[in-house]
């Protein structure tokens, strides 16, 4: 990540706000799952420590003031050797006529020297997850950690479950790590001569590339949105109709772009699994896990986007169409193997270990329980005076949140227009 970006704020976010465009409509305020957004003085403001880059706000913004900042393709040319690590949802963006292999080849024509696919290592990832689950019998359920928005959601809203997150690099990070060493050895290149870029379907993956959680080493050099290169790929592929050079592809692993397939593959006689997708469904499930109501599951796959990565907001294709394409590709293509044993050995040697993840406690009103209680009393008092409509017009997501904002000195009670109107009406009568 660029130094300039780093200095500006403590937390990096792919989701950004264009204040000029913002009309202060409060739609984003109400959909944010971590209550990270407020509208103040007619403009939205994102609390950097609460934002998890789930992009719910981007989806509802009517004027495109909220947008996702990904890295430009031109960044790859800063490097001598360029590797694209592609998300399994990439192939699902192209119709059957174009085909999986042509879509991959197009990336080479965009300027990449080599391609690695998330789909290459899904089998061994499942082995690794099973091994991790069996070696951590005290942690149930183990929660998937390959969706960065989910990792951040747990850190922000469910601090007691941070230790349940699978503490192993995500498949795309494993690939990046493995390939940097491999390319450096095979091509005799210095590590910083190799540019590793993820081709991703969601904003939180961009955030994770620039500000990874738990990783010991910076693994990637950038993240490019699928939607940003889509039209270029479409142009290039037309010229590739007669290109019959062979390219390795790993179709069987593509299914992990669909929610539930990972859980299915990890499941075993001794491992019960569950899969949940869509941020609000995930929040419900995490709340149940927190109350120990789902201890019977050994592994729970959690995905921010409905339907899984095919539902990512940086995809071009409709998620349901994309999912059906993937199922077709997987059925048609023969399985190709990579050296799973070698990957598993690396895992066993600790090559993919991550640092213990830390909660980001933003829920409490005060660091000290006594002060928090005093504040809570005030919150309840103020809440009684508010209409309880949760209309969001004040710029806070709910009446309760407004009461908290008032107590924290960030709003005033007159921000509630409904209350003012009612007082005025009472006076008139």
């Amino acid at each position: 990540m660029s130094e300039e970006r780093k200095e500006k704020k403590e937390f990096f976010h792919a989701v950004e706000l264009d204040r000029e465009k913002c009309v202060g409509c409060t739609k984003c305020v109400r959909v944010c799952p971590t209550e990270a957004i407020r509208v103040r003085n007619g403009k939205a403001k994102i609390d950097s420590s609460r934002c998890i880059d789930c992009s719910q706000c981007v989806k509802v913004c009517p004027v495109n003031a909220l947008y996702i900042k990904s890295d430009p393709l031109s960044d790859i040319f800063k490097f001598k050797y360029r590797l694209a690590v592609i998300s399994a949802s990439y192939e699902s963006q192209f119709s059957e006529e174009i085909g999986y292999e042509r879509a991959l080849k197009a990336l080479l024509h965009l300027g990449f020297d080599e391609i690695a696919e998330q789909a290459m290592i899904t089998d061994v990832t499942a082995d690794i997850i099973r091994d991790y689950i069996r070696n951590h019998p005290q942690i149930r359920p183990v929660l998937s950690s390959n969706c960065p928005a989910i990792v951040r959601l747990v850190q922000v809203r469910f601090p007691s479950l941070v230790k349940n997150l699978l503490h192993i690099e995500s498949p795309m990070s494993m690939l990046a790590k493995y390939y940097r060493d491999k390319i450096s050895k095979e091509k005799g290149l210095k590590e910083d001569e190799i540019g590793i870029f993820l081709i991703v379907p969601s904003s939180s993956q961009i955030t994770a590339v620039h500000q990874p959680e738990g990783t010991y080493k910076h693994l990637h050099d950038g993240a490019i949105a699928i939607s940003d290169i889509y039209s270029q790929v479409m142009d290039i592929q037309k010229k590739l109709c007669d290109d019959d050079t062979q390219i390795s592809s790993y179709a069987n692993g593509l299914s992990w772009a669909i929610s539930g397939m990972e859980a299915e593959e990890v499941a075993a006689d001794d491992i019960e699994t569950l899969a949940v997708s869509g941020i609000h469904n995930v929040i419900d499930i995490l709340s149940n896990i927190e109350s120990h109501r789902l201890d019977q599951y050994d592994y729970i796959e959690l995905k921010n986007c409905q339907l899984g990565c095919v539902g990512g907001e940086l995809n071009v294709e409709n998620p349901f169409v994309a999912a059906s394409r993937i199922k077709k590709i997987v059925k048609k293509t023969r399985r190709k193997e990579i050296d799973n044993d070698y990957f598993f050995r690396l895992y066993k040697e600790g090559y993919f270990d991550v640092e213990p993840l830390e909660p980001r406690s933003i829920m409490e009103l005060d660091k000290d329980i006594r002060s928090a209680l005093a504040k809570m009393k005030k919150v309840k008092e103020i809440e009684k005076k508010l209409p309880g409509l949760d209309c969001g017009v004040c710029g806070s997501p709910t009446c309760r949140a407004l009461a908290e904002d008032i107590v924290q000195g960030q709003s005033k009670i007159d921000d509630c227009l409904v209350r003012l109107r009612r007082i005025k009406k009472n006076k008139e009568e």
């Binding site: 927190e290 109350s291 120990h292 829920m363």
Partner: protein, 178 residues
């Protein structure tokens, strides 16, 4: 956790208490001091859709206070199990969550029909749950044992044909006297 049970003609009582609360636990329940804050909820009988909301609200409240996450999970389990008990086994009732600086006292009071034999109900696996409750995935006979396991104090007073009163205390700091 030490426990004792007592029976009279009219009602039965059950106490279980961690060493941290041995000296003062009973007083805190039978004659509770003025709480810092109080949350009140009603629980409808057999409403398996809405049940769990009171314990969720209590959990959220304690999160805002910054209560230790592991303690929070214990409160969540104890309150949820108690709430389910009221839903599944009683004719409905209420929850009062009394919040103090160092602990929470949650009181579940229902409108009957009362527990026949409390000591039996405390045995893991013992259940009187009806078919509906079992279909909903409850009734494994772990409710009361789970409440006991997760609380620093559990008090049950029940009169057959009348009602059940269940109180739990959970300390915000582990193993510290109030």
């Amino acid at each position: 956790m030490g426990s004792e049970a007592a029976k009279s003609d009219n009602y039965a009582e059950y106490w279980a208490c961690s060493p941290a609360l041995e000296s003062r636990g009973k007083v805190l329940v039978t004659n509770p001091p003025e709480p810092e804050m109080q949350l009140d909820f009603t629980i409808e009988a057999k409403d398996y859709i809405k049940t769990g909301r009171a314990s969720s609200e209590i959990k959220l409240f304690l999160k805002k206070l910054g209560v230790n996450p592991d303690v929070l999970r214990r409160v969540a389990v104890a309150c949820y199990e108690a709430e389910i008990n009221v839903t599944a086994h009683s004719n409905g009732g209420t929850v009062q969550a009394l919040i103090y600086q160092d602990y929470i006292l949650a009181i579940f009071e229902d409108k009957g029909p009362g527990i026949e034999d409390i000591e039996q109900a405390m045995i893991p696996g013992f259940s009187t749950a009806d078919e509906l409750a079992r279909e909903m995935g409850f009734g494994a006979g772990l409710g009361l044992p789970n409440i006991k396991k997760n609380s620093d104090l559990l008090y049950i007073k029940s009169a057959v044909g009348i009602n059940t009163y269940l109180a739990v205390i959970i300390l915000f700091e582990d193993k510290q006297d109030v």
